[in-house]
């Protein structure tokens, strides 16, 4: 069924947006196979975003952990510092084709907001970003970055003042102004066609990684891993390996203070089936279906749901989802800095943390690819504070 992943997905949005969402569907169906559009996008990805991203053999980490050979897919080296640019360039280009003059977006850690503001500057679009007040505080540097790029940032003060509330507010804004505005959703979530469209734009990650690993190693990896909030870098990392049945797909969720506490954002571990933000999927919620106020040290993973295709990959057991705590993520953040000289995003550190756990249990001819979704400059001050050092940006 269209826009469904098993029972998940769908288009659960207000009637006001339905005509527009159908228009986006039609536009995407047309452009995804349009050679001129793809040429334009691929040129931007290559010459502006810096693709292909490196697949880097983490030799020191591999030797230190003493098990599987570890490769890092370096999305942190993309322009704007994360995988978000892959999707944003695609959607912003589509917005142009649709005659839109303004793009809006939600952001958690600010990575998607920065990428959207960047694309808007490049393509000459007006840009407004919705970001939870809590996140504008903990990611102040990214707020200023967006403003430098010419975007207007709206701190969202409703609800838990984090990513979920930023999505609420962006959706409300979109219902006010659909004529000239495209909502550039940042993850593989929301109503169809967003989960599919964002996945397709992000699938360049696994398309490259698959070619690169075959070139370097002459075989496919044992497992590929990525952190999961809404799940866009994970979906991008998984997609071209889904049909390679022997390749394990592992998503790392933010467990916050632990899955047995209320301070968690691990949707697969603690959530249940629901309908929210335009999609049927798994959500952290109470017994009356009120969406839970989730928590993670990572603003980008601090979301109470997960994209519908991940929910489906979980149901069918094609992918495995594991929780990683704040403590484990911070340890991993420091470990990879000292071991490989890479300061990665605290989001990506969740995937590194799980790699640190499983690599030693694997054989030396096993291969692990970890998606390093973003760079960690934005997190340095927060990690310092986590360790009791009062550094302010």
């Amino acid at each position: 069924m269209k826009g469904r992943y098993g029972i998940h997905g769908g288009q659960y949005i207000p009637e006001t947006l339905m005509s527009e969402i159908h228009k986006i569907e039609e536009t995407y169906e047309f452009y995804k196979n349009d050679p001129a559009f793809n040429d334009e996008l691929n040129t931007l990805l290559k010459e502006y975003a810096g693709r292909p991203s490196l697949l880097y053999y983490a030799k020191k980490m591999t030797e230190d952990l003493g098990g599987a050979k570890i490769y890092l897919k370096r999305e942190d080296l993309n322009h704007t510092g994360s995988h978000k640019i892959n999707n944003v360039l695609g959607q912003a280009l589509m917005a142009k084709k649709m005659g839109k003059t303004r793009i809006i977006a939600e952001t958690g850690a600010g990575q998607h907001g920065v990428a959207t503001a960047t694309a808007a500057a490049l393509l000459g679009l007006e840009c407004e970003i919705f970001m939870g007040k809590e996140d504008t505080d903990r990611q102040a540097l990214n707020v200023y970055r967006m403003e430098l790029l010419g975007a207007k940032v709206h701190p969202v003060t409703t609800g838990t003042m984090t990513l979920k509330d930023a999505v609420n507010e962006a959706m409300r804004e979109w219902t006010k102004r659909v004529d000239d505005t495209m909502y550039v959703l940042g993850s593989v979530m929301g109503p169809h066609p967003f989960p599919m469209m964002v996945r397709d734009f992000q699938s360049v990650i696994s398309k490259e990684a698959r070619e690169q690993i075959l070139e370097y190693e002459g075989k496919l990896p044992t497992a590929v891993m990525a952190c999961v909030g809404g799940g866009s870098n994970a979906m991008g990392m998984f997609y071209n390996f889904i049909n390679d049945k022997d390749v394990k797909l592992i998503g790392c969720e933010a467990a916050g203070k632990g899955v047995d506490t209320a301070l968690t954002a691990a949707t697969i571990a603690t959530g249940s089936l629901g309908v929210f933000h335009g999609m049927k999927s798994y959500f952290c919620q109470d017994k009356y279906g009120q969406i839970a106020p989730v928590y993670s040290i990572s603003a980008g993973l601090d979301y109470p749901g997960i994209g519908p295709e991940h929910a489906y990959l979980h149901d069918t057991k094609r992918a495995q989802y594991v929780p990683v705590t704040d403590d484990e993520a911070v340890d991993a953040f420091e470990y990879i800095a000292k071991t490989e000289g890479i300061i990665c995003a605290i989001e990506s550190a969740h995937a590194i943390a799980h790699a640190i756990k499983i690599a030693p249990t694997m054989k030396k001819d096993d291969i692990l690819i970890v998606c390093l979704s973003g760079r960690g400059d934005k997190d340095v001050a927060a990690i310092a504070r986590y360790r009791g050092k009062e550094i302010y940006e």
């Binding site: 769908g10 288009q11 659960y12 949005i13 207000p14 009637e15 006001t16 947006l17 339905m18 005509s19 527009e20 409703t158 609800g159 979920k164 509330d165 609420n168 959706m171 409300r172 219902t175 006010k176 102004r177 659909v178 249940s272 089936l273 629901g274 309908v275 929210f276 933000h277 335009g278 959500f283 919620q285 017994k287 009356y288 279906g289 009120q290 969406i291």
Partner: protein, 270 residues
């Protein structure tokens, strides 16, 4: 009280929604259950009926009401702070039904209903005397999963049409039962100035009336007598929400009189 029985698909329906539109223009008032407290919600529903409202929309609070502006969002927050649950709202409706036969619809978000379980939820609606439900995040294409269940319990799913519905109007209207909720303008709920209403409402209503006998009520933004006067020329009813919620916010548990006065002011125009 004598309930008018209607024959629907061979089953006798006790549904009351049609009564709101019988030989008159309907005034539909909205409030959020549990704001400020559930006992007052009972009183305010009865107050509105007394002041001339013909149908009441009861909001079951939800943590993330994406179709609401600040006024109703805040009412949801207040109600949830009071720990109002869906079961509490059902109990509150029972109390209303001890005293009134006014048509009642729930207004909430799909997750509240989905998570309760469609069957359990609509069974309970029938038990306590709820006639319809408005789910702003359930568009036509996704509505079958709810319709399959709610009609078994004689609860009407209210269809929504927006200024942007365009070629969807006919499809939605043909299937619509109870009444059609026509969204007056772009955006979320909240009181509006006259200039921000869509300019094609009359045209949409004429189109709907060609397709179906189901009455059409306009909602979102209506708060002034002049607006009611304008809309009644072509709509079968008007829906007022945020303006009522504002009065309740301002007067808390002492809103009975100001609420009645305000409803009267508006219903006088119908």
């Amino acid at each position: 009280m004598l309930l008018q029985l209607r024959d629907i698909g061979g089953k006798k329906s006790m549904n009351r929604i049609h009564k709101a539109f019988e030989n008159k223009k309907a005034f539909i008032g909205f409030l959020t259950a549990g704001d400020p407290v559930l006992d007052k919600t009972v009183d305010y529903i009865l107050d509105m009926e007394q002041a001339g409202a013909s149908l009441i929309e009861i909001g079951i609070p939800f943590s993330d009401p994406i179709a609401e502006g600040p006024t109703i969002q805040e009412a949801n927050v207040r109600a949830l702070k009071n720990k109002v649950t869906t079961d509490d709202v059902f109990e509150m409706v029972k109390k209303v039904r001890e005293k009134s036969d006014i048509p009642l619809c729930f207004m909430t978000y799909l997750n509240v209903v989905f998570h309760y379980g469609y069957d359990a939820f609509f069974k309970k609606c029938q038990e306590v005397g709820i006639d319809g439900i408005i789910l702003p995040d359930l568009p036509y294409e996704e509505s079958q999963e709810v319709k399959d269940v709610c009609y078994n319990y004689d609860v009407t799913l209210i269809s929504m049409i927006a200024p942007t519905s365009k070629d969807r109007v006919e499809m939605i209207a043909k299937d619509a039962k109870g009444f059609i909720y026509l969204v007056s303008s772009m955006g979320v709920t909240g009181t509006r100035e006259d200039t921000s209403f869509a300019n094609n409402l009359e045209e949409i209503i004429n189109h709907i009336h060609q397709v179906t006998d189901t009455p059409v009520a306009i909602g979102f933004g209506i708060n002034k007598p002049e607006q009611v006067k304008e809309f009644k020329q072509y709509a079968d009813g008007v829906i007022v929400g945020s303006a009522i919620v504002n009065i309740i916010k301002e007067h808390g548990a002492k809103a009975d009189e100001p609420l009645k006065e305000y409803i009267q002011l508006l219903t006088n125009e119908l």
